[in-house]
Amino acid sequence: MSKEALLVGQEAIARKGWIGAHRFLLLRRASQLGFLALFVAGPWFGLWIVEGTLAGSLTLGTLPLTDPLVFLQSLVAGHWPEMTAIIGALIVVAAYALLGGRTYCSWVCPINPVTDAANWLHRRLNLPKGWQPKRSTRLWVLAAALIVSAITGTIAWEVVNPVTMLHRGILFGMGFTWAMVLAIFLFDTLMARHGWCGHLCPVGAFYGLVGSKSVVRVSAKARAACDDCMDCYAVCPEMHVISPALKGKDGDTPLILAPDCTNCGRCIDVCSENVFSFTHRFDDTLAEPSDHHTPAPDPQTA
């Protein structure tokens, strides 16, 4: 049957229900709101659970957390921080090294809803993908941020980092941060598909490096059931991570091991054949194929 007329995820909705086809999206929005609520509860409602911002926080007056990239910039800028910040950074690094570095991007980062909204609009307007610099550009931006930090002796990326600026803006006052956020929204909508998070943001690049050997992974366990509808490619913000796992031959692991994967789970949601599932990196088993399938040729990613 032809699926050209179907919107992305239509079939999954038909088969699993709307909730079933948006399970991880809903969980992610809940998580993003939840983390924001923890921070906002203090200044807005006087419930001091978490003090501070994503750059550095104190939970229940005891647990320190520090953004490891800000911490690293502080180091190269020539400051040796106090033990509180060191412990905080180690805890965060350990957590994301296990959970998947870019889990931060899709489950915590306040810019993610902005770029997700931009991408939704971008798809609704059926716009061309626009400027697509290499995905590795963000690594170069990361290097540049660290080099500038070292040369100027200042935590350089924090002068322009929209992630911490938006978070701080919500908690302490915006200033002109809204303009920056709007600029990113427009950039992602009109100029470059997945432009900010997928190509430029050094914070995502850094967390990707942190989680390059992470335990929590998505697996195309039931890849034998794939019917090449391409919905997972359409929703995936880092679609180059899918092919090696989904289109792998018998010997290839079904695990999505690319550090760029944000563990957002959208592929799990939109797949009507339930090819994908969350698992751990040591589980490279394949599900038994339910019915006979002819392997499809590797699709040209568009």
Binding site: P64, F71, K134, F172
Partner: protein, 272 residues
């Protein structure tokens, strides 16, 4: 990307051009970023850092812009700089004395809250803080200088009679009053801004300035003779002859005095 065999020259060329392009883009973006960073390093004079803040260039390497010091400040003194406002580096804490001065808490909660040491944990006595130095910037409008008894800055000073004293002098204008001049002593002033906040004038006559603006620096080679003399317990140069002092009266060159010495040669058209 896929095969670690000897790359073809085309692949090598592609790799080299891609890398060159990335490096070029990075250099460009990095330069722009460095420009923004340098721009953000300029701290306006009226923006004061919290107690114990490291010197500005070290502070900007140490402060992670988390806002914990602001949260633990009991008096809404500290605020975080917002983007695009003509102020300190985005997200860093500061206060404006005329708005809300530092109340100089004994337990210094802002310093305790700082996770990185951007606010130096070695500061354990708030009286040792050096957020700035109060300066009587306008000696023409200060009411005390005009001979009135305002004294407000002196009386609100948390280090009264040490950081600010009132120096007595004769009021020449009225002829029978005193002037109580507020004098700041930099070694005791913490720069909390209480005086600036409470100055009764529409624009404060006493302002807290950063050290770099408020203070001169004594020349390295300069010695104060009287101090050296005290330290030595004797004149610094031995064998000085004490010459007679010129007093008014006969035999001196004091022309204003009667019987004074008249020079034989006078310049034309010079009258005494």
């Amino acid at each position: 990307m896929s095969k670690p065999n000897a790359p073809s020259s085309a692949a090598r060329r592609r790799f080299l051009t891609d890398t060159a392009r990335a490096v070029g883009g990075c250099a460009l973006a990095g330069t722009g970023l460095a420009y923004l960073v340098q721009d953000a390093r300029a701290l306006p004079a009226e923006a004061l850092r919290p107690p114990g803040a490291l010197p500005e260039e070290d502070f900007l390497a140490a402060c992670i812009r988390c806002g914990l010091c602001v949260r633990d400040c009991p008096y809404d003194t500290l605020v975080l700089a917002e983007l695009g406002e003509d102020g300190p580096a985005t997200g860093t804490p500061y206060f404006t004395a005329r708005d809300v001065p530092c109340e100089m808490c004994d337990d210094i909660p802002c310093v305790a809250a700082c996770p990185t040491g951007a606010l130096d944990p070695a500061l354990d006595n708030i009286d040792d803080a050096k957020m700035g130095i109060a300066v009587l910037v306008d000696q023409e409008n200060c009411l005390n200088v005009l001979g009135l008894r305002c004294d407000v800055c002196y009386r609100v000073c948390p280090v009264i009679d040490e950081a600010i004293t009132l120096e007595l002098s004769h009021n020449e204008r009225s002829g029978h009053h005193a002037i109580f001049l507020p004098v700041v002593h930099a070694d005791r002033c913490t720069g909390c801004g209480m005086c600036e906040k409470s100055c009764v004038l529409p624009e404060a006559a006493i302002k807290v300035l950063p050290q770099r603006l408020a203070r001169a620096e004594a020349a390295e080679h300069y010695r104060k003779g009287w101090e050296e003399k005290d330290a030595r317990g004797a004149p610094l140069v031995d064998g000085l002859i004490d010459l007679p002092d010129r007093l008014p009266g006969p035999g001196t060159d004091n022309l204003a005095a009667p019987g004074g010495f008249e020079p034989s040669f006078k310049l034309p058209e010079v009258s005494q």
